[in-house]
C-alpha cells in the first residue's frame, strides 16, 4: 500500500455561472497539486476568500453546482476503497463517507440539530455507516465518548445545554465514531476561548494518534498550525504557494507571503513593531496576472507580473512557488533558545 492516502493532481475547480448568456467564472481552486501521507496532520492556511474552503469542499466531495471540478483528480487510497472523488458518483461517495472520510465542521451550534438530543444526532450520523443498532450501537458511542472525556449523560442533552467546548467535542465525536481514515477539520476551534481551544486541539491530536488517521486541518491562525500540524500548506488566491514541514515554514519560509504571515504574529514578551501587509487579497473572479501575490509582495520584480512561478522543490518535502525564493528572509528571528534550521 502506498504511503500517500490522498493525491491531488492538477486540480482546478471553478464556480461557473451563466446568467442570460453571460458567462462568469470564479477560479476558486486553480491548479493545486499535493499529497497527504497516512497518519499525518496537514495544516492548510489561507485568508477568507483565498479558496481554502472551496478546496476543502472538493476534498470532502461536497461540490454542488455551480461549483464543479474542471480538471484534475482527487484520489483517495482507502483500505479496499480507492476512489477519485472528483469523478465519483454520489453512490460511491456515500459508501466512503463517515466510514473512511469524515468532516469536523465549523460552528458546532449550526452543525448539531437544536431540537434533537445528542444521542439521536449520533444515530442519524453513524448508525448506518457502522451497521449497528440498539444497545450495541449505544455501547459503541458511549465507549467513544469516554475517550473524548464526555460522560454518557450528554447523549440525553440538547445542544444548547452544553458549553461551546463540549459541543465542539461532540462534533469531533460524531466525526470520529466510525474510525475514519481521513478527517477534514475546518476551523474547529475558531469560535472557542483560548483555554478551551487548547484542550480541543490536543484532543484532536490525541484521537488522530490513537486511530492512526490522517487529518487536514484548516485555519487562518498560524499559531494553531504551529502546534498541531506536521506539514503546512499555504493557499493564496486559489493556488498553493508553499508547503513544507511546520518547523521550516516558521523558521525558514521560502515564500514572501508565508514569511509575512509568520512575522505578523504577536508574541508575549516581545513588543517590537510588527509589520502589516498592505493591500487586500485579490478577487478570484479577476485575479492578477503572473504571480497572484505580486501586487502586495515586497520582493516583486517585473517577471512576477507576467509569468506564473512554477512549484519548485527547495528541500525535503518543501516546495514553493516564487521566482525569488532564494531571497526570502525570515522576518522574525526564531527564539534564542532554539537553533535555526536551514
Amino acid at each position: 500500500m502506498a504511503n500517500e492516502i490522498l493525491t491531488v493532481d492538477g486540480l482546478k475547480a471553478y464556480y461557473q455561472m451563466n446568467y442570460y448568456g453571460v458567462q462568469r467564472e470564479v477560479r476558486a481552486v486553480d491548479d493545486i497539486t499535493m499529497s497527504i501521507k497516512r497518519n499525518e496532520v496537514y495544516g492548510i492556511a489561507g485568508e477568507s476568500s483565498s479558496g481554502k474552503t472551496s478546496f476543502i469542499k472538493v476534498l470532502a466531495a461536497a461540490m454542488r453546482p455551480p461549483f464543479r471540478v474542471v480538471a484534475g483528480s482527487v484520489k483517495y487510497d482507502f483500505k479496499g476503497h480507492p476512489i477519485d472523488v472528483a469523478t465519483a458518483s454520489d453512490k460511491q461517495i456515500e459508501a466512503v463517507r463517515w466510514k473512511h472520510l469524515s468532516y469536523i465542521m465549523q460552528g458546532s451550534m449550526s452543525v448539531l440539530n437544536p431540537v434533537r438530543r445528542i444521542g439521536k444526532t449520533f444515530e442519524d450520523f453513524a448508525a448506518k455507516p457502522l451497521g449497528l443498532s440498539g444497545d450495541a450501537f449505544k455501547q459503541r458511542v458511549i465507549g467513544h465518548l469516554d475517550r473524548l472525556k464526555l460522560s454518557p449523560d450528554v447523549l440525553r442533552a440538547y445542544p444548547h445545554e452544553l458549553s461551546g467546548g463540549m459541543r465542539q467535542r461532540v462534533t469531533i465525536g460524531l466525526a470520529t465514531v466510525c474510525h475514519p481514515e481521513f478527517i477534514i477539520a475546518d476551523e474547529p476551534t475558531t469560535a472557542l476561548d483560548v483555554v478551551v481551544q487548547k484542550e480541543v486541539l490536543s484532543l484532536i491530536r490525541d484521537i488522530q494518534k490513537e486511530m492512526g488517521a490522517s487529518v487536514v486541518f484548516v485555519t487562518h491562525d498560524m499559531s494553531v498550525h504551529a502546534n498541531v500540524a506536521d506539514r503546512v500548506g499555504i493557499i493564496y488566491a486559489g493556488r498553493l504557494v508553499e508547503e513544507g514541514p511546520t518547523r521550516e515554514m516558521f523558521f525558514a519560509p521560502k515564500h514572501p507571503y508565508t514569511a509575512h504571515l509568520v512575522a505578523s504574529l504577536p508574541r508575549i514578551g516581545d513588543t517590537a513593531q510588527r509589520p502589516a501587509l498592505e493591500g487586500r487579497p485579490p478577487s478570484l473572479a479577476s485575479p492578477p496576472a503572473g504571480c497572484r501575490f505580486h501586487p502586495r509582495c515586497p520582493l516583486a520584480v517585473d517577471k512576477c507580473k507576467t509569468e506564473v512561478p512554477p512549484m519548485e522543490t527547495v528541500g525535503k518535502d518543501h516546495r514553493t512557488a516564487c521566482w525569488r525564493w532564494k531571497d526570502v528572509e525570515p522576518l522574525v528571528a526564531p527564539h534564542a533558545s532554539h537553533g535555526v534550521m536551514v
Binding site: 492556511a45 485568508e47 483560548v194 518547523r247 505578523s264 508574541r267 508575549i268 502589516a276 501587509l277 527564539h335
Partner: protein, 307 residues
C-alpha cells in the same frame, strides 16, 4: 490629574429563568478602575466568554445600567436616564467599535452614508464640502480616503478595510475615548496587524484612549499600557500589561498565559494542558476574595484560607 472615566465598584446582575425558578447571575462584580485625561492609554480587558467583559463595555457605553456602583465620564454619571441632548453629547465623546464589521454595517447601505450621518449628527455640519472634508479627514486617520470609500457597499470591501472604516466612523466626533470590543477577532491574519497598529497610532498620534476588549493575550501584550483580567465577573488581576503578562500571579491569569499557543516550538506538537492548573483556576470561581496591591503596581485577588 483629572479623570476621563471613573468606574467605581460597579456590579451588574441579570435575572435568569421564569418567576418560579429565578436565578441571579452576577455578570460583573465590584469592578473599579479609572482612566485619566492627560495620559491617553490602551486599557485592555481580558477574559473568556462569560467573564463579563462585554457587559462592562456596554455599561460604559450607557447601553446597560449598572445594578450597583457608578460609572462617571468627566465627572458626570453615565446613565440612560438623561435628556436626548446630554446623551448625544456623551455619545460624541465615547464611541464604540464592534466585533464583526460585516454585521455592524447594514449590507444595503453605503459606507459613506454611515460616515455622513455621524458627521451631521455630532458635528452639526450641513454643507456638502464641509461634510466631505470631515469624512475624508477621519478616513485619512485610518489609512483610507473618501475617494476609496464613497459609494461602496460593505461587501465590496475586505474585512480589514471595513473594520478601519468602522473606526473612522467612530473617530468623526474626535472622541477622547474609544471602546473596541474584540475588533480583530473576525479579521484575517494578514490584516489583523494593520488594525492593531492603527489602535496604537490612535493613542500615540491622536491621543485617543482606547478600551480594548479581547481574549487574545498576544495582541494585548503588544499594544496595551494597562490590563485587567476578568474571571466570571470578577477582576482577578490588574496592572501594567507587561508586568502582569510577563509574570502573572493569579492562577487564572497563569492558566490563560499557558493556554496561548506559542509558535516558538513550531512542529513539536506540545499541547498538553496542565490539569492541575485548570482545576486550581476553576476552583476559585465561587470564592469572593479581595484585591490586594502588590509593590510592583499590580493588584491581585487573594483568598483568605485558600493557598
Amino acid at each position: 490629574m483629572s479623570t476621563l472615566l471613573d468606574i467605581n465598584n460597579v456590579s451588574k446582575q441579570f435575572t435568569m429563568g421564569g418567576l418560579l425558578s429565578r436565578k441571579l447571575v452576577n455578570a460583573v462584580e465590584g469592578a473599579s478602575f479609572s482612566l485619566s485625561v492627560e495620559k491617553p492609554e490602551i486599557f485592555t480587558i481580558i477574559g473568556e466568554s462569560g467573564s463579563g467583559k462585554t457587559t462592562l463595555a456596554r455599561m460604559i457605553l450607557g447601553l446597560e445600567l449598572p445594578s450597583n456602583g457608578t460609572i462617571s465620564f468627566r465627572g458626570k454619571t453615565v446613565s440612560a436616564k438623561v435628556s436626548r441632548a446630554e446623551r448625544l453629547e456623551f455619545m460624541a465623546n465615547v464611541q464604540p467599535v464592534f466585533q464583526n464589521p460585516f454585521e455592524a454595517f447594514n449590507p444595503l447601505k453605503r459606507i459613506d452614508r454611515y460616515l455622513e450621518s455621524t458627521a451631521r449628527r455630532f458635528l452639526k455640519l450641513r454643507d456638502r464640502s464641509e461634510l466631505d472634508r470631515a469624512m475624508d479627514g477621519a478616513l485619512q486617520k485610518v489609512g483610507l480616503s473618501l475617494a476609496e470609500v464613497k459609494g461602496r457597499y460593505p461587501h465590496e470591501m475586505s474585512g480589514g478595510q471595513l473594520q478601519r472604516a468602522a473606526i473612522a466612523r467612530a473617530l468623526i466626533p474626535s472622541p477622547p475615548l474609544l471602546i473596541a470590543d474584540e475588533p480583530v477577532s473576525m479579521v484575517d491574519a494578514s490584516l489583523r496587524m494593520s488594525i492593531v497598529n492603527l489602535l496604537k497610532s490612535l493613542r500615540d498620534d491622536l491621543k485617543v484612549s482606547v478600551i480594548y476588549i479581547t481574549h487574545d493575550l498576544a495582541t494585548a501584550y503588544y499594544i496595551s499600557n494597562r490590563i485587567i483580567i476578568m474571571q466570571r465577573g470578577r477582576i482577578v488581576e490588574m496592572g501594567d500589561a507587561r508586568t502582569v503578562l510577563d509574570n502573572p500571579e493569579h492562577p487564572y491569569s497563569r492558566l490563560l498565559k499557558a493556554s496561548v499557543l506559542s509558535t516558538e516550538d513550531a512542529g513539536d506538537g506540545k499541547l498538553a494542558t496542565d490539569r492541575e492548573m485548570v482545576s486550581r483556576a476553576n476552583g476559585l470561581v465561587g470564592v469572593a476574595g479581595r484585591l490586594v496591591d502588590r509593590p510592583d503596581g499590580r493588584s491581585v485577588r487573594v483568598y483568605e484560607g485558600a493557598s
